[in-house]
């Protein structure tokens, strides 16, 4: 096994297999899953455990595939031409390598994270097909060919905002990170808060899973929100008994702002608690 759970990062066996397969077979690994299930963390932890660099390419709606290869700064070349600088004779002074180029030429096999690929235009993945497949590209300005010294470990994350083209998918391994079950989540929490009281943990997890069970929620809280919430609970020294009190603050858990990110969800929860109270009377 190349990559296993670390002290601070709990890896499910499924995901471990996926990562190891991608590393061994030198294929990009596409990761999907609910927000907050540690997709980006995975790449960071993988780079740390392999002791190599993480090259993070954060995709935005304006990102172009070309930017990952290189950018030719024609404007500063024009300026230099005007000022009579000597740099101007050599075009390669104005070629800025992008993230893929950096990854291709790194000394040690790096981890390249293409984060939130679904944010970009729908043609973006198609434009990267060849580069990810052959691991080489041409710089047209200089006629140079950049070939990867070794194939970088490519981790791609997506939040499902857009569907990815089939041709792209065929070239990747795909893994869907499922929301962790209670046992795994306990492990994750303990990895972050080793000194957490067992009582508080049980009470907090119960509240958390009850909340996730409410189907009408617009945004279900995820692992990262649970961790934030626990941090707040500890900071405010909330007792486990407060968490067990179902009618606290009209049915809302203490410090609910860390778990619910949407006022409709807060209102919904209050309504459900109100109905439960009425039914119980």
């Amino acid at each position: 096994m190349i990559f296993q759970s670390t002290e601070h990062y709990i890896l499910s066996p499924e995901l471990a297999l996926a990562v190891n397969a991608a590393v061994t077979l030198e294929k990009p690994l596409l990761i999907k899953g609910e927000p907050g299930t540690g997709k980006t963390r995975l790449a960071e932890e993988l780079a740390a455990s392999l002791g190599t660099d993480l090259i993070n390419w954060q995709i935005k709606s304006t990102s172009k595939a070309q930017q990952g290869l290189y950018e030719y700064d024609a404007v500063s070349r024009l300026r230099d031409g005007q000022l009579g600088s000597e740099r101007v004779a050599n075009i390669s002074n104005y070629i800025k390598p992008g993230k893929l180029w950096t990854a291709f030429t790194a000394e040690q096999r790096p981890v390249l994270l293409i984060d939130e690929i679904d944010k970009a235009d729908i043609e973006f993945p198609n434009d990267l097909l060849h580069e990810l497949d052959r691991m080489s590209f041409d710089v047209y300005e200089t006629g140079e060919r950049i070939t990867a010294k070794q194939r970088p470990i490519v981790v791609i994350t997506s939040n499902n905002e857009k569907e990815l083209p089939d041709a792209f998918l065929r070239r990747c391994f795909f893994h869907y990170i499922r929301f962790p079950d209670k046992d795994t989540l306990t492990q994750i929490v303990l990895a972050h808060f080793p000194k957490l009281q067992a009582e508080l943990l049980t009470a907090a997890l119960e509240v958390f899973f009850d909340l996730r069970a409410v189907d009408a929620l617009k945004k279900k809280p995820s692992t990262s929100e649970l961790l934030d919430w626990l941090k707040l609970l500890l900071a405010e020294q909330i007792a486990p008994s407060v968490l067990q009190d179902k009618q606290h603050q009209g049915g809302l858990m203490p410090l609910y702002g860390a778990l619910l990110k949407n006022e409709q969800d807060v209102a919904l929860l209050e309504k459900l608690a109100f109905m439960a109270r009425r039914a119980g009377r």
């Binding site: 066996p13 499924e14 297999l17 996926a18 190891n20 397969a21 061994t24 077979l25 294929k27 596409l30 999907k32 024609a74 404007v75 024009l78 300026r79 005007q82 729908i122 905002e161 857009k162 569907e163 083209p165 089939d166 998918l169 065929r170 070239r171 990747c172 391994f173 795909f174 893994h175 869907y176 499922r178 899973f209 069970a213 409410v214 189907d215 009408a216 459900l272 109905m275 039914a279």
Partner: protein, 410 residues
């Protein structure tokens, strides 16, 4: 299934490959679009000995290599079960419409419900009763409200029914059996049998793009720069221009409730595709036919209502309008004052639709009903006439036709 075939006799390798191929064909039979490249990937992965003699691991590895979308996981689970156990996987869900999601129901039955289930004489009876109750509920709320049994006495639970599934009782107490992971069918909720997929829709909607330069000038304007530089006798004078953005403006009107429930999935897809594609996009909802007001949310509460008069004042006539509805109703709902099934409308739907069309000349109607049925409904004929034949089926062809019409300049 350990596959270190370097030391294997040739016939055994052939047999293993043969098994893999028939497994692959089983997947294809289930409608999974795995390709030969992906099968070769799986073979390579097996050759690298990433897994050892474990069907569970093989399951994970095969899924990793062959399946590229979580909505396909469920099909894969079924195919895997069929291949490896040879058991006809009896799927109760196919006996009732998809969106009833029976397994979801079973999974979430509490002990009490199970006891009740036995006393009611089994699952089928319970379902019958459930359907019956749902029917009563719909009759009570003619508006098409989809909630069921919030009172607490119903075995159908606290949070009610939604076309996507049934939620019953408290979640989490579902039955736990020691089953194989693919038998759990955990990914059933992700499966979506979409004929018109999201990407195809998005590509069709894209043709409606109209680019215009708006916003901050951040892009180098090459032509402008050359011109200005020439005027400066060769001294560089940089000119910038704003980036091109899609400037098309769209209003969408969705028919909701009643007979449209059958097409909720198609509508959701269109909704999602449109939302990511257009920046200037407004959604409104109506029931059967637009009358004097439409709603901003699908719950159609009075607080969310927008009158058509106000709408005509707010949105300029350069907005393109897309109606989405099955147009299946009593003809009087369109042509007569007071024809609405929900309220008394002083003016007929026809009058209001004509007003909308007069203001927005760029309008189409998308109808999710299969086109072959259209001639059977008088109301469709009336609307088709009102729309000046700009009614299109909600298929890829229909959608492209509608978009072609919308992108003509009027």
């Amino acid at each position: 299934m350990s596959l270190c075939w370097k030391n294997w006799p040739l016939w055994l390798v052939a047999l293993a490959v043969d098994m893999l191929i028939s497994f692959f064909l089983t997947l294809r039979k289930y409608g999974l679009k795995s390709s030969i490249t992906e099968l070769l990937d799986l073979l390579k992965a097996l050759q690298q000995q990433l897994i050892f003699a474990s069907t569970d691991d093989f399951y994970l590895l095969a899924r990793l290599c062959l399946i590229k979308d979580e909505s396909q996981y469920d099909k894969f689970d079924r195919a895997f079960a069929e291949y490896f156990e040879g058991v006809e996987s009896l799927d109760l869900a196919s006996l009732i419409p998809d969106h009833w999601l029976l397994p979801g129901l079973i999974r979430q039955l509490s002990d009490e419900d199970k006891a009740k289930l036995a006393s009611l004489g089994g699952l089928e009876q319970l379902l019958e009763q459930f359907k019956q109750r749902l029917k009563e509920q719909q009759e009570k709320h003619a508006g098409g409200n989809k909630w069921i049994g919030t009172g607490g006495s119903s075995p159908f639970g606290a949070y009610g029914f939604h076309p996507e599934g049934i939620r019953v009782g408290q979640q989490g107490s579902g039955q736990r059996r020691a089953v194989k992971v693919w038998d759990k069918r955990d990914f059933k909720d992700f499966d979506q049998n979409a004929e018109l997929n999201h990407r195809a829709m998005q590509l069709a909607l894209r043709q409606l793009r109209r680019f215009a330069r708006t916003g901050q000038a951040t892009e180098l304007d090459l032509n402008g720069t050359i011109k200005a530089t020439a005027q400066q006798a060769g001294w560089l004078d940089l000119k910038f221009q704003a980036e091109r953005h899609n400037a098309v403006k769209v209003l969408m009107f969705f028919d909701i409730g009643g007979s449209m429930d059958d097409y909720i999935h198609e509508c959701e897809q269109l909704f999602a595709a449109a939302r990511t594609e257009f920046k200037h996009l407004e959604f409104f909802y109506f029931h059967n036919c637009p009358y004097e007001q439409v709603w901003r949310t699908h719950q159609r509460r009075s607080a969310d209502a927008v009158s058509i008069t106000q709408l005509l004042q707010t949105y300029h006539s350069d907005y393109k309008v897309i109606f989405v509805g099955d147009a299946t109703m009593g003809p009087y709902e369109i042509t007569y004052p007071g024809g609405s099934v929900e309220h008394f409308n002083p003016e007929s739907g026809e009058v209001w639709l004509k007003r909308l069309l007069a203001h927005f000349p760029n309008a189409v109607w998308l109808n999710p009903q299969p086109q072959a049925w259209w001639s059977h409904y008088h109301s469709i004929e009336i609307l088709q006439k009102l729309m000046q034949n700009q009614m299109y089926a909600m298929t890829l062809d229909g959608l492209s036709g509608a978009i072609r019409h919308l992108s003509k300049r009027h």
